[in-house]
């Protein structure tokens, strides 16, 4: 027979008091979640089932009509592909560059704060500022990128970076990578401080080269933090909007359109609020499985580590 639990043995009055205390403590959070998450979510689902143009006081109910239209929208595929490119490159590039920089800076002591601050500044810059500054850099006539290329005889490579459909997405992506890498670098550099130096020395003595030491010794030890970084950048790839909107607005001729800008364009430029809302819900639904999977993996690895 199992011993009675503490709550079973507690007097009824005390249990009731505990329950009330629990409710009282949870109530603010519950109210917060209801007002700022559940209510807007329910509202978004409701609006996605209407044909609302932003002004019509009695919009028609169309059920799943907006979602059916989304499934056959020819503009959605290219926008989704751009998101995929963004997710892959926009996650891989800052993680690889940030990790490489963190490994390089790991043992550097002199002026390390300066390096960290310098690399972190782009991350804290507002997207508007980063977008505007990089737009100047990419300016076809006066931007220094084309001037640099021309000055070294690479005139053929000079182009209208943000106005050329072949280069526009990559140009915006480079800006995003520039802005994100500092964050990845700083977080990974901090996590590297916890790596067991003795294990590394042992691996070195066993003849493991640099790449092997990173792969077999360093990465497993920083894996939970590494996965957290991957989750953040990857989920950000689904919802990317601001930097694209500022630098190209999705153009030229939709060449840089991503799901976020397409949703905005429908909702606020074409006044199709419901269609834009349906698209925003789809973006959310697409991102959830990745976030959940990575979160579970991270927790499992953290658990294994603690065992």
């Amino acid at each position: 027979m199992n011993p009675p639990t503490r709550s079973h043995s507690a007097p009824r009055v005390t249990r009731r008091a505990q329950a009330r205390l629990g409710v009282a403590l949870v109530a603010p959070l519950l109210a917060f979640v209801t007002v700022f998450f559940l209510f807007p979510l329910g509202n978004a689902i409701y609006y996605s089932m209407l044909d609302y143009n932003g002004v019509d006081p009695s919009p028609a109910f169309v059920g799943l009509g907006n979602f059916v239209e989304l499934a056959t929208d020819p503009a959605l595929g290219p926008a989704f592909m751009n998101n995929i490119i963004w997710i892959v490159l926009g996650t891989a590039a800052p993680v690889v560059i940030g990790l490489s920089l963190a490994l390089l800076m790991w043992t550097v002591r002199r002026a390390s704060t300066l390096y960290r601050v310098a690399l972190f500044i782009p991350y804290i810059l507002p997207a508007v500022a980063a977008g505007v500054v990089w737009s100047w850099i990419y300016d076809p006539m006066r931007g220094w990128l084309n001037q640099l290329l021309r000055s070294v005889g690479l005139d053929a490579l000079a182009t209208g970076w943000l106005g050329n459909p072949n280069t526009a997405l990559c140009a915006v992506l480079v800006t995003a990578v520039w802005a994100t890498t500092g964050f990845v670098f700083v977080v990974l550099l901090s996590s590297l401080r916890n790596v067991d130096a003795e294990l590394l020395d042992a691996a070195r003595m066993d003849g493991a080269n640099s790449l092997q030491r990173v792969w077999y010794i360093v990465l497993p030890q920083i894996m939970p933090v590494f996965l957290m970084i991957v989750t953040l950048t990857l989920v950000g790839g689904f919802s990317v909007f601001d930097i694209v909107f500022i630098m190209t607005g999705g153009g030229p001729s939709n060449a840089t359109e991503v799901l976020g800008t397409y949703a905005y364009s429908n909702a606020f430029q074409l006044n199709r609020i419901s269609y834009g809302t349906a698209l925003a819900l789809v973006i959310t639904v697409l991102a959830i499985p990745f976030a959940v999977a990575l979160n579970r993996l991270q927790r499992r690895l953290s658990f294994q580590e603690s065992v």
Binding site: R20, F36, N53, M141, P165, G249, S253
Partner: protein, 425 residues
């Protein structure tokens, strides 16, 4: 009260305070005195930041003359205004008076939703002398729902000094314009400072070429669905700009050049011509030290006609608490005195007749005032600025289509086909 109840009450109050702090609207910053009516007046952010203080000073005059009415002016970027205006008006927390476009997708859709105050009676009572053609643009279901904005024309600015230096006369037809462009290009200067990064410039490019090619009635027929957007004239107009781009008459990457960037090319004399509207006259005058001319885009057999549109004008919210004060304010805004002030200080042309004889007006503006006055009198023709009257879907298709033309992704025929589909939707 027991301690349990106190705890629950405190928690509940805490939650309530949290909610209220986040959800209650901020109180108005403008304190109104006893019996004062405060009107919130929302305008688009001005091209020139110096204009807003000038408008505020002007509004102070109205407040002086109308004790008891205070105007709280608020400026917002166009894109932001587009996203928040409808919500504000619907929530009843919007501005009392606001400047907004008079086209069907702007004031028209707000009127359809019952968000605009019916000014029909006010027009009669106050005898507002708005031009008939402009009044038509703010008339929905026989109700006048606002005051049309300033009259704006779209044409081509050209560097007269440079033209003279190169021995080029003002182009009198399309052939002469093309010859001038070839000549200018040969001299190492970009003929047209066309920018298309934002996309909306396409509306002006197509409007001006079409107006000169098919006349105002032809453009009206296209907009009204009586003519097809796949007609040869439309395709030729699209092909003209694609051809100019291919011939090197435009900057190398127009889709990578912003509106301001295009203007800068003209100011710095890296480009000889700037296709844009009369709203740019104060900027052009302020930023150039060479002589500037302003002409309509020529047609094949003549000088062509200007394209005209109406800018944003004052509308009154249907939910205003102070309709009488709002109408008094509108009455001030449509007075000849205010129109004259706007011409002299903002370089804008009101949609009502004003005496300009004794005004200090920029030379280019004087020309536009004359053009619009002769048009209003029925003595001349003006084309229509398409994006002011077309649907959002059509406009977006036009913007995307021009970017596709300039980047070689689509042919003029394909763009015309897409325009036709958008127009039919």
């Amino acid at each position: 009260m027991t301690s349990r109840h106190s705890l629950a009450a405190v928690a509940g109050l805490g939650a309530l305070a949290l909610l209220l702090s986040g959800c209650t609207p901020a109180s108005s910053t403008a304190s109104s005195g006893k019996g004062d009516s405060t009107l919130r007046y929302l305008v688009e952010q001005q091209e020139d930041p110096e204009f807003l203080p000038m408008i505020e000073a002007r509004i102070a005059k109205f407040e002086e003359r109308n004790p008891g009415i205070l105007i709280e002016i608020d400026a917002m970027p166009f894109d932001t205004m587009r996203t928040v205006l409808q919500t504000q008006l619907q929530s009843g927390d919007g501005p009392d008076v606001f400047n907004w476009g008079s086209g069907p997708t702007f004031a028209g859709s707000l009127a359809d939703a019952g968000l605009l105050y019916d000014l029909t009676e006010s027009y009669e009572k106050n005898d507002w002398q708005i031009y008939d053609f402009a009044k038509d643009r703010v008339t929905v279901d026989s109700k006048i729902i606002g005051v049309p904005g300033d009259i704006e024309t779209v044409g081509v600015y050209y560097n007269k000094t440079m033209f003279d230096d190169l021995g080029i006369d003002q182009p009198e037809n399309l052939g002469e314009l093309e010859a001038a462009a070839a000549n200018i290009k040969q001299s190492g200067v970009i003929p047209f400072a066309v920018s298309d990064q934002e996309g909306w410039q396409a509306g002006h490019l197509l409007s001006m070429t079409l107006a000169s090619r098919v006349g105002s009635q032809g453009v009206a027929d296209l907009i009204d669905g009586k003519a097809s957007w796949t007609s040869p004239e439309v395709i030729e107009s699209l092909a003209l700009w694609a051809g100019f781009n291919d011939a090197g008459y435009l900057p190398e990457f127009p889709t990578a050049i912003s509106y301001d960037g295009g203007a800068a090319l003209f100011y710095s004399e890296e480009a000889a011509m700037l296709p844009t509207g009369s709203w740019f006259i104060p900027e052009v005058e302020a930023n150039t030290d060479f002589e500037v001319g302003y002409i309509p885009f020529p047609s094949e057999d003549g000088a062509g006609i200007f394209t005209a549109g109406l800018g944003s004008g004052p509308l009154v919210s249907a939910n205003t608490d102070n309709p009488e004060a709002a109408i008094k304010f509108i009455d001030f805004l449509v007075s000849e005195e205010h129109g004259q002030w706007a011409v002299e200080n903002l370089g804008t042309i009101p949609a009502f007749p004003i005496e300009t004889k004794d005004l200090e007006v920029l030379p280019l503006l004087a020309q536009v005032i004359e053009d619009t006055a002769t048009f209003a009198a029925g003595s001349s023709d003006l084309g229509t600025n398409i994006d002011v009257v077309a649907s959002d879907l059509f406009n977006q298709t036009m913007y995307d289509g021009f970017q596709a033309l300039f980047t070689g992704q689509k042919t003029p025929e394909q763009v015309a086909e897409e325009l036709e589909v958008a127009a039919r939707n």
